[in-house]
């Protein structure tokens, strides 16, 4: 049986990859996928903690978070498609008219 801390370490690594990716990538789709990676890192941590506590509550919470993530995908991709179909790239740096 694998100890809980290894799962948490993996979750932390995935979360960091997502966070660093979000801050360095400039394509809207890639940034969005990085957010999804961070969400799944949180899900992995919840499942591991759920087993460590012997409590299935957190596993059901993971289903709720998956649903929320799906809703976020639906809305996010909707916004991305609506915005970038008028523009040549999905680079977020083209959206920089608001300043000050």
């Amino acid at each position: 049986m694998v100890e809980t801390q290894y799962y948490i370490a993996l979750a932390a690594i995935l979360f960091s990859i997502g966070a660093v990716g979000f801050l360095t990538r400039r394509s809207a789709i890639q940034m969005f996928l990085c957010v999804e990676l961070m969400l799944n890192a949180a899900n992995l941590a919840l499942v591991a903690f759920s087993r460590a506590w012997g409590d299935l509550l957190a596993q059901s919470a993971v289903f709720i978070i998956l649903t929320l993530a799906a809703a976020e995908v639906a809305i996010g991709l909707g916004i991305i498609v609506a915005i970038f179909k008028k523009r040549p790239t999905t680079n977020v740096d083209v959206l920089s008219s608001l300043k000050g």
């Binding site: 809207a28 941590a45 709720i64 809703a71 996010g76 609506a82 915005i83 977020v92 959206l95 608001l98």
Partner: protein, 474 residues
């Protein structure tokens, strides 16, 4: 195997269900009736929810084994949120007059977002709270990119990406807090933290920091405020009005609940929060000083106000909860009122230059007088409500020993006088240069007078309402 029926008390969720049902009707009915009828339906639904909230006052009902509670805290915040949404619905009627289109979906999405904010204020469980948080956020992402202008689209994209990033951080924080305590219920987490065999305090502290960052984004605390001026400027004015009051109030309700009820005995988040508040107060107020656009100035001013309310999160829950609610109630009236004036005076959703307000005092006396009222109250001039709100929050923070921050808040509040008084000086002591349009209908003018009266009454007789809010204390 025994089947245990879940503990569902629909009566306790009456305001929430009313808003949700109205949202469902507002989704379906635009196929059959006019946009104006949907606006009316939304207003009626919100008024019924308001009546239900007042009717449930002091009943302390709960549902889902205490995960959803209609205590006075939730109902008080619910009333503030419904009032904020009502002001947005009434203001949206004027948008059509200036040629902008607020399609009927606007009301459906607005009402879904309101139901999320109410869930967030009533939740006593981290997962329920998270659902409310996400329903609110997803609705507002769509609303802020609602108009097909480059600025509105940019606002929606920025808000969505940064908001999603903040939600992911918040969810990871929730996972860590669960890992440390094994509980999702807010009181249960506190009990687990206080129990003698609690040994995961470092995990809980890291989780608390992640949750702090997630909420810091949503309430626009520096250094996580960068999206705020851009999104508030780019989004349609009515949406900015809603975001700056209802979304902020609901996020603070969740913020206060998590840190006041669940994590108050976890160490490690108090010092970072103090830094965030100090930075927010300075950046918000100083950046507002050098804005030439009224909409962007109000955006930075709402960052600064997040700093003031943040003081209530630091204060002990017994004082912090009621003072934050009182402040956010007044803030909803005065800030939404200021945005309503901005909305009827500007020809599009780009806001207007502060210079162009010159001479408004003689050409449009009602709009100028109410805007003066709201700006003076935002600045915290007695006897208006903003002063009492600030006083309550400052005294709550001071009695918990945060004297340095209170002094800083008072100083930055004095700085804020400069940018709140400048439009007033222009309106009354300068001749008119530009002719501003006036799209205010009768409903908006009544709304402005009611908001101004509310700000004045909450300032003159604070005990009448604050006495009720004492019941919010746990």
């Amino acid at each position: 195997m025994n089947f245990v029926a879940p503990d569902v008390n629909y009566y306790s969720m009456l305001p929430f269900i009313t808003v949700l049902l109205t949202a469902v009707f507002a989704t379906i009915l635009p196929f059959y009736v006019s946009r104006k009828a949907i606006a009316g339906l939304s207003a009626v639904g919100l008024l019924v929810a308001l009546a239900a909230s007042i009717g449930l006052w002091n009943t302390n009902l709960s549902s889902f084994y205490g995960a959803y509670r209609s205590d006075n805290f939730a109902l008080g915040f619910g009333i503030v949120l419904i009032v904020g949404a009502l002001i947005a619905v009434i203001s949206s009627v004027d948008v059509a007059k200036r040629g902008g289109t607020m399609q009927a979906e606007f009301f459906a999405i607005l009402l879904y977002a309101v139901s999320g904010t109410m869930l967030l204020a009533s939740a006593h469980d981290l997962i329920v709270l998270l659902i409310g948080f996400e329903v609110m956020s997803l609705g507002v992402y769509v609303l802020s990119s609602f108009q097909e202008t480059a600025k509105s689209e940019e606002a929606g994209m920025k808000y969505f990406l940064l908001g999603g990033f903040a939600s992911a951080i918040l969810i990871f924080g929730i996972a860590l807090v669960f890992g440390a305590t094994g509980k999702f219920g807010l009181e249960a987490i506190n009990t687990a933290v206080l129990s003698p065999e609690f040994k995961n305090s470092s995990i809980a502290a890291v989780g608390a920091l992640f949750i702090l960052i997630g909420f810091g984004f949503k309430v626009a605390m520096a250094p996580f405020h960068q999206w705020t001026p851009d999104v508030y400027t780019g989004a349609p004015t009515v949406v900015t009005q809603f975001m700056s009051v209802a979304v902020k109030a609901a996020a603070f309700a969740g913020f206060l609940h998590i840190f006041g009820l669940a994590l108050q005995n976890v160490s490690g988040w108090q010092t970072p929060l103090q830094f965030l508040i100090a930075l927010t107060l300075m950046i918000g107020n100083l950046a507002a000083l050098r804005q030439s656009n009224l909409k962007r100035m109000l955006a930075y001013s709402s960052v600064a106000h997040a700093g003031y309310v943040g003081l209530a999160v630091l204060a002990s829950p017994s004082q912090g909860f009621s003072s934050a609610l009182y402040y956010l109630g007044i803030y909803t009236l005065m800030n939404a009122g200021a945005f309503a004036v901005l909305n009827v005076l500007s020809k599009d959703d780009d806001g207007l230059e502060i210079e162009s307000l010159a001479g408004l005092g003689s050409s449009k006396p009602l709009l100028a007088a109410t805007l003066t009222f709201f700006l003076l109250s935002l600045a915290g001039i007695p006897p208006l409500g903003g002063f009492i709100g600030k006083y309550l929050i400052f005294s709550a923070a001071a009695s918990s020993g945060y004297y340095g921050l209170v002094i800083l808040a008072a100083l930055t509040s004095a700085v804020s006088l400069a940018y709140y008084l400048r439009p007033i000086g222009l309106m009354y002591f300068r001749p008119r240069v530009t002719v501003l349009p006036d799209f205010s209908g009768r409903s908006t003018r009544v709304l402005l007078v009611v908001c101004a009266a509310g700000v004045l009454i909450l300032g003159l007789v604070p005990n009448a309402v604050y006495g009720l809010l004492e019941l919010v204390k746990k």
